[in-house]
């Protein structure tokens, strides 16, 4: 929970944003929760009817910055991770989630099936590149 109090301002962002994604043909559900200053990821095995089991949990990530500019005389900076998003590619079994400010575009995970069950593993933290926009068409 994050509450900013400054002069006449009170911004509360206690709820944050949650994204849920099904990983096809695995019986897994991914839940990503973003608040202004933190984000975390959890993977649940829901293949057994009537019960879910958490099989993976990713650490909380501290975010980028938010700047509160008040007309007089104060400036405030706070950390944010943003609204976030989650994407899954079934062909390669890769999961992208938890962007982090301007440093990390996304965390890339691999979802693999093994004898003991599904395994989720962090492959890398992908960078956010700082190249200038060339403004071309898509």
């Amino acid at each position: 929970m994050l509450i900013l109090d400054s002069y006449l301002i009170n911004i509360s962002t206690a709820n944050g944003w949650t994204h849920v994604k099904e990983i096809a043909n695995t019986g897994l559900l991914v839940s990503v929760h973003h608040c202004w200053d933190t984000a975390n990821l959890e993977v649940f095995d829901v293949s057994d009817k009537g019960q879910g089991k958490k099989i993976y949990s990713f650490e909380k990530v501290s975010g980028g910055r938010i700047m509160i500019k008040i007309y007089f005389p104060s400036l405030s900076f706070l950390l944010v991770t943003g609204y976030g998003d989650v994407a899954y590619n079934p062909r390669r079994n890769i999961l992208g989630a938890i962007p982090n400010g301007v440093k990390i575009s996304h965390h890339l995970y691999n979802v693999a099936a093994s004898k003991t069950g599904n395994i989720v593993k962090l492959i890398r933290k992908s960078r956010w590149h700082f190249q200038q926009s060339i403004g071309g068409g898509i």
Partner: protein, 90 residues
Amino acid sequence: MDLHVEKHITGLDFNPNGEIVAAIDNYGTCRISDVNTDEYVFDVSMSDRGKEYFRIQCVFRCYSSMTNLFFDINLLLVALLEFLVFLSLL
């Protein structure tokens, strides 16, 4: 008060092959990267695309009396009428 949120990713997706990832930030820059090498491929600004037809603004006011409230409702109805005329001209 101005609220400036630092640039951050608001959308993320892979292409069907899973070789390319696209991310878009809150300033409308869509950036394409190679999943295998984590190298930058291409980016494009979406913020200058499209055309703005109208803008919706939320105004929160405190009413000291019901007269002021009805006055503002009248203004709102006039604005709505103008908007409908504008739509009919499109």
